[in-house]
């Protein structure tokens, strides 16, 4: 009864069940534009990618991604249509879509009211809007407390290591 198997999902987002207006198909919204002078890369909402992603420029995920993301001093934004199953390290993480994984932000981690997150969060600051769904743990680590971010392999552009995607492995 209390085994360690992954809990089945009764619904993708309990918080959305509490919002009758969400039963209508929402209009896809692009991810909010991350701020900063660095370039912005975007995974469009019709795209699906599986692999390792590392770099030092802001990234917006509006499609499906599975793997790992390491952005060092940059920002990751998961748009309202984004579905991500990944371990993520970034300076700032903003989630407006669905994310499963271990998330570490050296600065701020934000879950918007539309966000649906299952995982363990470590960040210097956590902002959670009313209506967000979250299951997991939250640990606040200020910069002095945090382990140094991994810099190996980081560059000015993204490094993507694709791996084969099996249809059955796609995000549910």
């Amino acid at each position: 009864m209390w085994g360690n198997k992954k809990p089945p999902e009764f619904s993708s987002n309990p918080s959305s069940r509490e919002n009758p207006s969400s039963s209508a198909a929402p209009e896809p919204r692009p991810a909010p534009e991350p701020r900063g002078a660095r370039g912005l890369a975007r995974l469009g909402r019709t795209l699906s990618l599986k692999g390792e992603l590392a770099g030092n420029e802001d990234l917006a995920l509006d499609g499906e991604f599975e793997g790992t993301v390491e952005l060092n001093d940059a920002s990751l934004t998961v748009g309202s249509q984004g579905r991500v199953q990944a371990d993520i390290r970034a300076r700032e993480i903003i989630i407006d879509g669905t994310v499963r994984g271990q998330l570490r932000a050296t600065d701020r981690l934000m879950i918007t009211k539309n966000g649906n997150v299952v995982g363990d969060l470590v960040a210097a600051r956590v902002v959670i809007e009313d209506g967000a769904y979250f299951k997991g743990s939250i640990d606040i680590q200020k910069p002095g407390d945090a382990k140094p971010a991994r810099t190996e392999g980081a560059g000015d552009s993204f490094r993507i290591a694709p791996v084969p995607v099996a249809a059955k492995d796609k995000l549910q």
Binding site: N4, S11, E18, P20, I128, Y133
Partner: protein, 208 residues
Amino acid sequence: MALWPRSPTAKPEGEGSAPGPASRASLGLEQFSEVIKETEHPAVLDLGCVWQATVSFFTRLGCKVYTEDLFAHLDAALFHSPPTAPPLAERFLSSILQYPASSFRGIVVWDLFDYLPEELHQPLSARLYDLLEPGGALLLLTHNRQEAGPFLRFRILDAKTLELVPAALALRPERVFSNRAVLTLFSAYRSSRTFVGRDNLREFFLVK
């Protein structure tokens, strides 16, 4: 004020219609906080939905905060499961609280037991006891009477104050617990204290 069952046009969580959030003093939370502060970087499990205010309160105490919204989980198990789903106890209990024993210094249950079908009382209380470390505390709320009204979420404003926020779950109270019934259900705990509020809410502060 909305009556049970909740209208399908009810506003989403955090945007409840009148009367809106109300606050209440909480002696149980005060005691709970004291136990939490006894250890360094304690782990606390909140069985309600995630609120910024609650997370901030516990992280300011140095806690690692775990959130698992069993109210939403119960609502899904009761009202949103397919007809072919396994029996309630199986589908509810098999997918929650997947943590090792003695993981937490504190667990905030809120008024979850008021909404649980009776078949879930004993297995869930036993599981919560298992998850608490020795000396850890559990905070439980229960209503004095079964009255019509909106489903309320709780969030922590400070160590002595809770805010009650109307929310849009379809859960309705299953029963009213007597003090004796609560203490029987949680009889394994080393000590217990009960605080009765003027708002028909009782708080049980239990230490393992």
